[in-house]
Amino acid sequence: MPTDSIASLNEILQKDEGALLTNWVDSQVNAVTFRPDRTSRPELMDHSRRFLTLLRDAVKSGEADIMGPGWAGVRQMLDDLSVSRAQQGFSPSETATFIFSLKQPLFDRLQAAVGAGEALNRVWATNLLLDRLGLYTTEVFQRGRERVIVRQQQELMELSTPVVTLWEGVLALPIIGTLDSARTQVVMENLLQRIVESGAEIAIIDITGVPTVDTVTAQHLLKTVAAARLMGADCIISGIRPQIAQTIVHLGVELGAVVTKATIADAFAIALKRVGLSVQKAPGASRRREEDGASDARAAADRGEV
């Protein structure tokens, strides 16, 4: 950007800041992209005032490249603004309008300040500058969005791989959703960590919630089983739906020595047997229920008499 147009920009920003600010905020509020539900005029006014102050400082430094050190304050302000707008759910164009709406009021003043012949050049230079700033906000906005997405992915991954204790020494790992490499890593780490913490001997991997099993998924499952075995814990794979059993055989996946069960209940029964426990019906259970019924009836009768 030529120095004389910086100079005139500097002049305008210093001389006419109040009116420029009002015009700018007006054009933001009147733009189609204005979101009265997400922001308000006082807030916009505050942002715009801070931006103009920082812009004036940057322009005064005389630097033309907006990535240079003189523009650090402006970039920081736009970073914060764009990221916070990304999190609030603004669209990219709504965010970029913050900068682009400054064009009209600024150009009007440029034109008034210099002659018509010279105005075109200066408007052009200023236009370039504002475009770059606008694109910068869009870029930062996009990065902010991506950060949100990455965080959500991580949360989803951690949320969807809980390791639960069914009984002392028996862990269960209900897997819900597709089992890709990244998730296998998380699942494996969680499971092995819990095996160390709880000293469990048996882990039940339940794949009822896994929509499809292909060779890669099967490979991941077998890896998890092998890692648990190296730690001294046996794994049982349960929740295999008929469709998946067919797929596994058709694909020629060799499950080897891994114990598989159709339901988690069967797997739990085997697990209990392995740790030396058994489940039996309590002998007095059915009679007690009758007694409970009888006492209820008596209580109702008592209430009836009262």
Binding site: M188, A227, G232
Partner: protein, 128 residues
Amino acid sequence: MERIPILKMGEYLLVTIQVDMHDRLAMSLQDDLTAKIVSVRAKGVLIDISALEMVDSFIGRMFGDIAAMSRILDAETVVVGMRPAVAITLVELGLSLPGVRTALNIERGMELLRGLIGAKGRDDAGSA
């Protein structure tokens, strides 16, 4: 040259690996262990690797080899105390050590070893 101590406890041998294994050390462990199994007529070998933080494919294979050698010399091998990171590394290297018995800690490992040797003793007595 440093060596990994091999302790004798009754009819079992106890190997605790507390340093990072390198290839020479692994080879000398194999030599020492096989010699010791023969000389004390050990029935079981317990290898504690709870202090081992890093493994490569060579060390991973060594465990398999030791187990196979001991079996030939009529001794059962149990590897105990593997860390999660080590287990994941071995599996990613494709070494799931199918011939090696594992347990979570020394106590469990000893229990497993007693069970194995007891069962084998009964088998031998039955067939004789």
